[in-house]
């Protein structure tokens, strides 16, 4: 039985549903103009599109403990984490559509979402969000605040140099940092098993004298509990932790990925274990009223519809704006 209380669980459910609804709305929009022949440059949303379907528990279980003043850095697959951190959904959708009203006026797109009001950022380069998360954590520590930072990475990032450098530095500095590995089993097409020296990346935490927690089952409640401890520890000034979550990527690496590298039947097995309907069933079994869950779903759907309408209704940016925000003008001296 989970120690979590109902308000958090409803919040987690609603944000998982919102994230999935967002991705479900992205899919047809992304394919507009890209059929019958797929051309990534075409349509209202060009470029790569990395969907987070299946990984929602990693976002909500961790972010349920975070405040606006806490920092999150996410990956090239950032939508679920952005939504759970409270990034403005309208401006996020507009950014993905490359519109003037987007978070950065269309300069960044889906892999480079920044919302300073909730201290959220992401980077398209594997493991490279970790350094900035460490820096945000150290800024909080040096100022005597109890704010923390969370760096989301994939399991492939644990084989990057930046991972090991930041793990060591975070431990040496006692940084209030929680590193969350979303292990979806694949770096694009290469399986974790075929390219990783350890079966559990959480074991690597021992090399850096920090707790390493492994969570199986893609279970929002288990993630919530483990993340709660790690974040509380960081807030108490007791240093960093590593959390490894076994999750599942229910879509390709990016939209258009044929996924021929997956073993036969794997996708069906993963979809049968979709964490969202499973969580709904568990909440019902724990006595939460179906009407409350229905209301969560309705809110989530409405928020996504509003965001997409906002995005589609927004103007494309003035080409001249490409030349602004390269530098920030001095505001202090």
């Amino acid at each position: 039985m989970s120690k979590t209380n109902q308000p958090h669980r409803l919040w987690m459910y609603e944000n998982m549903v919102k994230s999935r609804a967002f991705e479900d709305a992205i899919k047809p929009a992304y394919l507009e103009g890209k059929t019958p022949r797929f051309n990534m440059a075409r349509g209202p949303i060009p470029g790569e599109m990395h969907l987070s379907d299946g990984q929602e528990p990693c976002a909500v279980g961790v972010c349920a403990h975070l405040r606006e003043s806490d920092t999150v850095t996410a990956t090239h697959r950032p939508h679920h984490a952005a939504i759970a951190k409270g990034v403005d959904l309208d401006r996020m959708a507009a950014e993905i559509f490359g519109r003037d009203t987007g978070l950065s006026g269309g300069r960044g797109g889906h892999m480079h979402l920044f919302d300073a009001s909730v201290n959220f950022a992401c980077s398209g380069i594997i493991a490279q969000g970790m350094g900035p998360a460490l820096g945000a954590a150290m800024a909080a520590k040096l100022r005597g605040s109890d704010a923390v930072a969370v760096a989301y990475i994939g399991e492939g990032a644990a084989n990057q140099g930046a991972f090991h450098e930041v793990m060591n530095l975070a431990s040496v500095w006692g940084a209030p940092l929680v590193i969350v590995i979303e292990d979806n089993g694949y770096g694009v097409s290469v399986s974790k098993a075929s390219c990783t020296a350890v079966s559990r990346n959480a074991d690597r935490a021992a090399a850096y004298a920090m707790p390493g927690i492994h969570i199986a089952g893609n279970d929002p409640d288990a993630i919530y509990d483990a993340a709660g401890e790690a974040i509380a520890r960081a807030r108490r000034g007791e240093g960093p932790s590593l959390i490894e979550i076994e999750t599942s990527r229910l879509e390709g690496h990016f939209m258009g990925d044929q996924e021929a590298y997956r073993p036969e039947g794997e996708k069906d097995r993963l979809k049968a274990m979709d964490p969202i309907p499973r969580y709904r069933e568990r909440l019902l079994a724990d006595g939460i009223d179906a009407a409350e869950l229905d209301a969560c779903e309705k809110h989530a759907q409405q928020a996504v519809e509003t965001a997409f309408a906002f995005a589609r209704g927004s103007a494309l940016p003035d080409p001249a704006s490409a030349f602004t925000s390269v530098f920030v003008e001095r505001t202090t001296a």
């Binding site: 950065s104 350094g131 800024a139 140099g161 930046a162």
Partner: protein, 342 residues
């Protein structure tokens, strides 16, 4: 005490550490991170005394993890602090460039100006002392080529202090290069002209403005860092031996390049030699000459550039000094320019 007008001759190393201390005193958000910048005071002397004065809360000796600590500086800067980090040799950029050009340089742009990145990356450049091709490069053009960063290099201690103050106060990432041959470290040898009067107190040398190191009317010699001193030595010889008055421009800021100051001088003189100790092809000297060509300035003789040839920097002094730009090469090019007509 009559100190107001006293001449304070300093090395670039001392001027940098004085600027850092002054800004750390003024702004509690300024912290310094890097390898050997604490107890040792910096391999090149530019952080001397900071640890003793500001303690381990502000001055961090880091492990040899440039990706980690430069990335951390980006996060600190985004959170409103003003980190100054050292990349001991610019040659080491290969192990941490993502943190520099993908994170620091794009934070403002990707956030639409929501999140700035007020950080300084101090890094040593230059050869001439037999350290071979992994510890002697300049890479001005590499860094100058990438948008989102400002890149400066002082040729003397006065400018080093003023540029450092300006760099720390800038809202954007500034790569602060310092040339080892000018640094004032006893064990490296130092060009005397880099040791200058450094005024007490705060002053800025503006980023984005080139300096006129010597006024002249007959030919423009353009340099940066150590090559400013090559240009000055050549100008001195031209004046003494040829009756030619050269104007010497100190580029001082590689990005954004102050083309106007260079163009104004070349409009006046009609002749130009550009000297830099970075690699020749796709380089800074070529960029300067392209700007002159684009401006349509009529020249009395073809523009010339002197740079390191397109080879790795060799070790043996017999090889290295044969290829590194110097004052003699500058003088010879200037004399050729004076003797030629376009």
């Amino acid at each position: 005490m009559n100190t107001a007008t006293a001449i304070r001759k300093q090395t670039i190393a001392k001027a940098m550490s004085e600027a850092l201390a002054s800004e750390m005193e003024r702004d509690p958000g300024v912290v310094v991170l890097g390898e050997d910048i604490g107890k040792l005071g910096g391999v090149f002397g530019n952080t001397g005394g900071l640890l003793e004065r500001f303690g381990t809360e502000r001055v961090f000796d880091t492990p040899i993890s440039e990706t980690g600590f430069i990335g951390a500086a980006v996060g600190m800067a985004g959170a409103g602090m003003r980190p100054v980090v050292e990349l001991m040799f610019v040659d080491f950029f290969g192990v941490c460039m993502d943190a520099i050009y993908n994170l620091a340089a794009k934070q403002a742009y990707f956030s639409g100006g929501q999140v700035s990145c007020p950080m300084v990356l101090m890094t040593s450049v230059g050869g001439g002392y037999g350290d071979a091709g992994q510890h002697s490069q300049c890479l001005y053009a590499t860094f100058g080529h990438l948008p989102g960063m400002k890149v400066v290099i002082p040729s003397n201690a006065h400018d080093a202090k003023g540029l450092m103050l300006a760099a720390i106060r800038d809202e954007n990432p500034v790569v602060f290069m310092f040339h080892k041959a000018l640094q004032g470290m006893g064990w490296l040898g130092t060009v005397a002209g880099s040791i200058t009067d450094v005024p007490d107190g705060e002053y800025e040398v503006p980023i984005g403005k080139a300096g006129v190191a010597r006024e002249g009317t007959d030919i423009t010699l353009v340099g940066l860092g150590i090559t400013v001193h090559h240009c000055l030595a050549a100008a001195d010889a031209l004046s003494r031996e040829d009756g030619v008055e050269a104007e010497v421009i100190d580029i001082r800021t590689i990005a954004p390049l102050d083309r106007e100051t260079i163009l104004a001088s070349v409009r006046k003189t009609g002749r130009v030699v550009v000297v830099d100790d970075d690699y020749l092809s796709c380089g800074l000297a070529g960029e300067v000459i392209a700007s002159i060509a684009e401006a349509g300035i009529p020249l009395a003789s073809p523009p010339q550039r002197i740079s390191h040839p397109d080879i790795p920097i060799p070790f043996s002094p017999a090889l290295e000094h044969a290829v590194l730009p110097n004052a003699e090469m500058t003088l010879a090019a200037a004399r050729q320019s004076i003797g030629e007509r376009a």
